[in-house]
């Protein structure tokens, strides 16, 4: 087979020459339309389902795993042989290293050259667009799948495996591809794209107002400059033609108990379907929203939450694992072999989801170590309540206080006389407000801090500060606002790279691949995702408050 390939390549060359004639083109055009129509007409739901299982799961009609070979030696099987592993869920392909995996959804495989849609193959090189090819039909698709032969007669990269699929299975894959990513996702109109952001009822209205204000200004800026396609014209990417679509933002404000949020969200989305949820904010749970996003297959991008679900759904991306990450970082710090571990740590938390998740994670992370963890729940808001929670804690102890700054203010008054040896607090829960600190407490106080420190942080957040100034927006909570700013910027980048291929699955795939490639304008040290990864920032520092009131790292960056 390999011996033939140069000759086949030469034949391909002649066919290409033929293609240059218009006559042949139009013949082909008519032919291909017939093929596409015949394909979609004859496909039964069973056939599509069979194709879906081969494509997504790597399972054959018989229930046997899909098998493939590469280089005649390496066997692939099951999920690692599934087309999805490379061509992705949306069928829009991917790029790893310098090897592009082309889009193979029906619009790309079967469309006549005149009607072909464009996709960006390499977002780092805007000129690298999907190439025109003669439309595939079932026969040439079979050759591609079985022999790695491109429709042009070229032998394809050995990255594309060879599959011994039957005619029936090829037909099923073809049927699946024909209906994959054909119509634009809900929320995408001819000249508009709808987005929403979500606010849970527990959030301080002042804080949510800051978020909404920032997002609205970012959208306005993007819309008023989108004539240059992406809103800017700094890169060749901005010159690729695409439809102009105005963005608008709905604010989905939830009311009542979390178990009613799902219904409210469904109503919002029915009335005004959105392409994606951008940012969002909660001070308590986010689980019902995560579930809703999965149910609607709706991308929910990077909300400001401190206790995200432990196992997020496919469609939700988060900045970090929140307080659970902090718990594991602190456990790692306390059990570091180079330091003397404390005999016991008392953790004090509130009886809510954030407190429960944090304390549970901390206990779990220290299970099996020599450190004993004692749990004390804080009920009520008075000094006496604290007295109860602090019972038995001496100046020799270490304490982890999963409390916010107003709880901590009460704590400090109470603690003035006998401060425990080590007092740890959560960076997420205190959110940059250390007004509870005092001279007596400060030498003992350590913050588990998920953001960057020092000059690097200053540098990363400069862009946002300047942007806020230019719109006369207030700076009230730097890490929080950088999250919102990052979201807006990331969304414009993502969507401009998608050109007109506005599919929700593709948005998630792009986000997974591209998050670490954009500039980090957030307060986090670095952000990165990949296939299946749902938390972008993966570590934290242990920091203390310096003489100038600023945080200084007291540990290396710890990734549990």
């Amino acid at each position: 087979m390999f011996m033939q390939s140069p000759i086949q390549q030469m034949l391909g060359c002649q066919i290409l020459g033929l293609l240059k004639s218009r006559f042949f083109f139009s013949l082909l055009f008519i032919f291909s339309i017939t093929v596409v129509q015949a394909d979609s007409l004859s496909a039964s739901p069973e056939e599509i389902e069979l194709g879906r299982r081969i494509y997504l799961e790597g399972v054959l009609a018989s229930g046997e795993p899909l098998k493939a070979v590469r280089q005649n030696t390496v066997q692939l099987e099951g999920a690692s042989a599934a087309c999805e592993a490379c061509h992705r869920r949306s069928g829009m392909g991917s790029l790893e290293g310098n090897i592009p995996v082309p889009p193979i959804s029906g619009r790309f495989l079967y469309a006549p050259i005149e009607d072909r849609v464009l996709a960006l193959v390499d977002t780092r090189q805007a000129k690298d667009l999907t190439r025109a090819h003669v439309p595939y039909d079932e026969k040439s698709l079979a050759k591609a799948i079985r022999d790695g032969m491109h429709v042009s007669g070229r032998e394809m990269s050995i990255l594309m495996p060879h599959y011994a699929l039957t005619d029936k299975e090829i037909k099923a894959v073809s049927a699946y591809l024909s209906q994959l990513s054909v119509s634009l996702s809900p929320g995408v109109g001819d000249d508009s794209v709808h987005f929403s952001t979500i606010i849970t009822p527990d959030v301080d209205p002042k804080k949510s107002a800051v978020m909404i204000d920032m997002l609205r200004h970012a959208f306005e800026q993007r819309n008023s400059s989108q004539q240059t396609y992406s809103g800017r014209m700094r890169m060749p990417l901005d010159l690729i033609p695409r439809k102009l679509r105005n963005w608008d933002l709905s604010v989905w404000e939830l009311k009542g108990a979390p178990d009613t949020w799902g219904v409210q969200l469904a109503e919002f989305n029915k009335k005004d379907p959105v392409f994606a949820v951008v940012s969002g904010i909660s001070a308590s749970t986010w689980n019902p929203i995560d579930q809703f996003c999965q149910q609607e297959k709706l991308p929910c991008l990077l909300p400001n939450v401190i206790s995200p679900p432990e196992n997020p759904s496919y469609y939700s991306l988060y900045f970090s694992r929140g307080v659970v990450l902090e718990a594991e970082v602190l456990a790692g710090y306390l059990t570091d072999k180079e330091k003397k571990a404390p005999h016991r740590v008392v953790q004090i938390y509130r009886d809510n989801e954030v407190g429960m998740n944090a304390s549970r994670a901390f206990t779990k992370a220290l299970a099996g170590s020599e450190v004993i963890v004692e749990n004390h729940v804080l009920l009520g808001t008075k000094q006496d309540d604290l007295k109860v929670a602090m019972k038995g804690v001496s100046s020799k102890d270490s304490v982890m206080l999963w409390l916010n700054s107003s709880d901590l203010a009460v704590f400090n008054k109470f603690m003035a006389k006998q401060v425990p040896q080590n007092v740890f607090v959560s960076g997420y829960l205190t959110s940059e407000n250390y007004s509870f600190n005092s001279k007596a407490l400060n030498p003992h106080l350590r913050v588990v801090y998920p953001y960057e420190l020092g000059d690097k942080r200053k540098k990363n957040v400069t862009a946002m500060k300047e942007w806020l100034k230019s719109w006369r927006l207030p700076l009230v909570d730097e890490p929080f606002q950088t999250e919102v700013f990052f979201d807006a910027l990331f969304l414009t980048d993502l969507t401009s790279q998608m050109l007109d291929n506005l599919y929700r699955d593709y948005l998630i795939e792009r986000a997974e691949d591209m998050l670490s490639l954009g500039s980090n304008v957030s307060a986090y040290p670095h952000l990165s995702l990949s296939r299946g990864q749902r938390f972008a920032s993966k570590g934290a520092y242990i920091a203390r408050i310096g003489d100038d009131g600023k945080l200084v790292a007291d540990s290396a960056y710890i990734v549990p």
Binding site: T73, V74, L76, S530, R531
Partner: protein, 200 residues
């Protein structure tokens, strides 16, 4: 080297190449695809002083792992990379099988380029998937350590998504490294390894 770039209309030079390849095929069992898809070079690298963590949690200086007496084959992957990395790891898996059968001394070293995600536990699981034995180790560590190593071996491409398909090998400390970039078959790797003359 531009075999992935679409270049189907051939020049006379390519024709010569085809003739040579066909001749070559007549005399060996090389396949056409195999012989054209990678680039070989030799280089010397300054090994940086960084610490790494092996998949079993063992912490050590990278040079100590590198210079443990066994000839080394090295690559870079990350666990959640689904197109290229499984292929690189399959190649290492086959190389392990072949060299073990030949009774050779060797050390396969796989370095994670997504170390914050690829914990020792997830590398252990990954190693199992590719049937890694005692002569194949996986390394993670801090992000800085991984970046430093990638840069030292000229494997750094700015981001994990840009990562290179690369195999490096060296017989003993002080000898130069053989660098294979592109798609290399297990047989090719073994051939190159034997040419190092490490186990003679």
């Amino acid at each position: 080297m531009n075999t992935f770039k679409q270049n189907f209309c051939m020049s006379s030079k390519s024709w010569l190449l085809i003739v040579v390849t066909i001749l070559g095929l007549a005399f060996s069992n090389w396949s056409w695809a195999e012989s054209a898809q990678f680039e070989r070079s030799e280089d010397n690298y300054k090994i940086p002083d960084v610490n790494v963590v092996r998949q079993d949690g063992y912490k050590s200086a990278f040079v100590k792992e590198l210079d443990d007496g066994r000839p080394v084959l090295l690559n870079f992957v990350f666990v959640s990379c689904s197109a290229i990395c499984p292929m690189l790891s399959h190649v290492f898996s086959k190389v392990q099988e072949k060299l073990t059968k030949e009774g050779q001394k060797f050390h396969l070293m796989t370095i994670s380029i997504d170390p914050e995600n690829d914990t020792p536990a997830s590398l252990t699981e990954y190693a199992k998937k590719f049937a890694a034995g005692e002569n194949w180790s996986f390394y993670t560590g801090t992000r800085e350590a991984s970046l430093t190593l990638q840069k030292a071996f000229k494997a750094y491409r700015g981001d994990k998504m840009n990562h290179a398909s690369l195999i490096l090998m060296r017989s003993i400390p002080g000898k130069s490294w053989v660098r294979l970039e592109g798609f290399v078959s297990p047989d090719e790797v073994v051939r190159e390894f034997n040419a190092l003359g490490a186990n003679k």
